[in-house]
Symmetry: C2
Subunit: 400 residues, 2 copies
């Protein structure tokens, strides 16, 4: 018998199977209604348009798009993305943008270029589980700060940052999902955005803005992105997964040129380049003006589903002290809080018995302590499923 | 002015722009004949077949293949790959195989799960530049051992391993590209393969077998892969880039289940999954029996180009003491050694002036010391270009 443990790096020794992933496996059983995944609605995917673009591109330049490409990304896609960012008020030079193989890769690159073992990262609590995994794989010390209705508690954040600095452990960056956060659905207010920029400047920190959902605003005004508020301290990650489709695994990273160029060097050792074929197809999709149309379609569909889920929650949920849920203005998720004595992990088995699934709140807590919360996804299930699923979930809660 | 340097991890601080990449930029100028890239011949890409498969698959299961997929890989592709490996004498269970987003990602994952700062890795000298970059990004201590006509000098390898063990720095693994090595074109003999396995067992080390070219054997018998000789200590990396096309960025990793499963956990934090769309297309390509046909086509074409380049080298190269080149039985590259006093980096400017390019040998040396060697790629250039390019290169050498 070989002792494989001896070969693992210290970082690898700390990597654990994701709880969320193990739970998701259980939710695959037939008949189950799952609000657990973070999947976009597949009936929204522009299958026909993509097929036509592939045929056309392959006939025109098949040999080119099936070859290796530059690490920075396929030039026509980078140019489309610069225009896209510009339409959102963010002016960038081409050297400030790199195409990444999913925004998850962006999180890995951020970990790789910034994080030494034990380095402090500030983040809200709860936060995106994939970020916890990525930063954990570099053995970061993640400090979670409570989230309020208008975003992370900036007062507590500043106090914690001061404490770390006093211990000579200045945090590297503040990690945020500012719009319709995964998992809470909460958006950071303009006032808090400005406050966060002030904190980053005062204490000389970076901000990592993870922005997969920003475009999916159902109502109200867009808040300015962090990168538009400060071009020197912010690295922003974007993905096509939620605004177009995830199966091509493409996103983009923007920020100060020297940081982005460091990420390019790191990326070259990671996978040489994102798939040129996939990049060429998305470039063409954007060039035809189809992305904005696609986003508009998704917004209409998801808004309807969110409204439907909120209506069903209002209708079915019992009247319990402390039971509440967020009402996100966009995105894919809402966040449900149960009375303090209840435990969504314990309740998970009951839910599975009733054929309904969610993600337990502790998955989104860097310290894994959350007990009485759950994430509900409203983008994937059909209306019929949402009606039945929320009804079942309400029964599970009543019976605890 | 912000001091960005303060934010970098220790590993990132050591990441440098790749020399090879900077040189490759220079080789893009019009009129230049480049033997520098490691590009497959684009006129071999099965553009028509891929286009048809895409149309067919999108009509049948577009919504499925544009969605997220499992981290381990798209099941039909994994099953095809298990069969493919079996036909090559390697029997594996499905949990011993993970689809990776390029074999470069495999090198990154190997670094991530095994390498702490300063950990020792044994490798041949010269070796694949992408491996140097990947392991350097984890601050590995890479120990390069001279390569002989039949592979790495196993005597010297064992002596160096013993020294490291005596210093209490047991190496983690031996990294090898055993077949038609990039850059040298050299293949490890059966005798040395057995000797390497013996060394790994005796000193309790792993072997990382990087195998992008193995299928591209133009003549002679296939040597057994390391994974077929020892299933407990070998992790093997494969890629579609050289046997099919690189633009989809897909490869696969196989090995002992516990190591592969550790890589799966690491991969989840890195990019969640390889592109399901691309995986589905390649699964279909394999299912139709097209991969073996494609490999046969490539072998015929590359054999002809290798023969052609060797004939031109014989014809044009001056009769200099110490000037020699390898005669690989497969792959994409050959390795040219100049007389000891000559320096291929200094000569590079002369070559560019004559509109011909190669990769300098030092790029493939973990210590960057190689001076009088160069890598020549014979897969990409046309015959006319090979004739002209080798003629020009011979003149450059004569004029030094």
């Amino acid at each position: 018998m070989i002792n494989y443990e001896q070969f693992y790096s210290a970082n690898a020794a700390g990597m654990k199977k994701s709880i969320i992933r193990e739970l998701l496996k259980l939710t695959g059983k037939p008949g189950i209604i799952s609000f657990a995944g973070g999947l976009p609605a597949p009936d929204m995917f522009p299958v026909q348009e993509i097929t036509e673009i592939v045929s056309d591109l392959m006939a025109r330049e098949g040999e080119k798009i099936l070859q290796y490409g530059p690490t920075e990304g396929y030039t026509p896609l980078r140019e489309e993305l610069l225009q896209y960012m510009k339409r959102q008020g963010v002016e960038l030079s081409i050297d400030q943008l790199v195409v990444i193989t999913s925004s998850q890769q962006g999180l890995d690159l951020v970990g790789k270029i910034f994080v030494n073992r034990g380095d402090v990262i500030m983040m809200s609590k709860p936060t995106y589980v994939g970020a916890i995994q990525a930063f954990n794989s570099y053995s970061a010390h993640m400090c979670g700060i409570e989230i309020e209705d208008d975003g992370i508690d900036t007062g507590m954040l500043e106090r914690e940052i001061k404490k770390f600095i006093a211990e000579n452990r200045k945090p590297k960056f503040i990690y945020l999902v500012p719009d319709f956060q995964n998992p809470s659905g909460i958006t950071v207010s303009l006032e808090k955005r400005k406050e966060l920029i002030r904190i980053a400047e005062k204490y000389d920190l970076l901000i990592v803005e993870d922005s997969p959902y920003k475009q999916l605003r159902f109502e109200g005004e867009h808040e300015p992105s962090f990168i538009s508020l400060n071009s020197e301290r912010v690295v922003s990650l974007y993905t096509f997964s939620k605004i177009l489709l995830p199966g091509f695994r493409l996103g983009w990273m923007v920020g100060p040129e020297s940081l982005v160029q460091k990420a390019v060097i790191a990326k070259q050792a990671v996978d040489l380049c994102a798939p040129p074929f996939n990049q060429a197809v998305f470039a063409e999709f954007m060039k035809k003006g189809l992305l904005e149309k696609q986003v508009a379609k998704i917004i209409t569909a998801y808004r309807e589903k969110r409204d439907f889920m909120l209506a069903k929650l209002d209708r079915y949920m019992p009247d319990l002290e402390g039971l509440k849920w967020t009402r996100p203005q966009g995105g894919l998720f809402l966040w449900l809080t149960l009375p303090g004595h209840m435990d969504t992990t314990e309740m998970f088995t009951d839910a599975l018995e009733k054929n309904v699934a969610y993600v337990i709140g502790s998955a989104f807590d860097p310290e894994g302590k959350e007990r009485n919360t759950m994430r509900l996804n409203f983008s994937f299930a059909s209306k019929e499923q949402i009606d039945q699923g929320i009804k079942r979930l309400a029964e599970v809660i009543k019976n605890r």
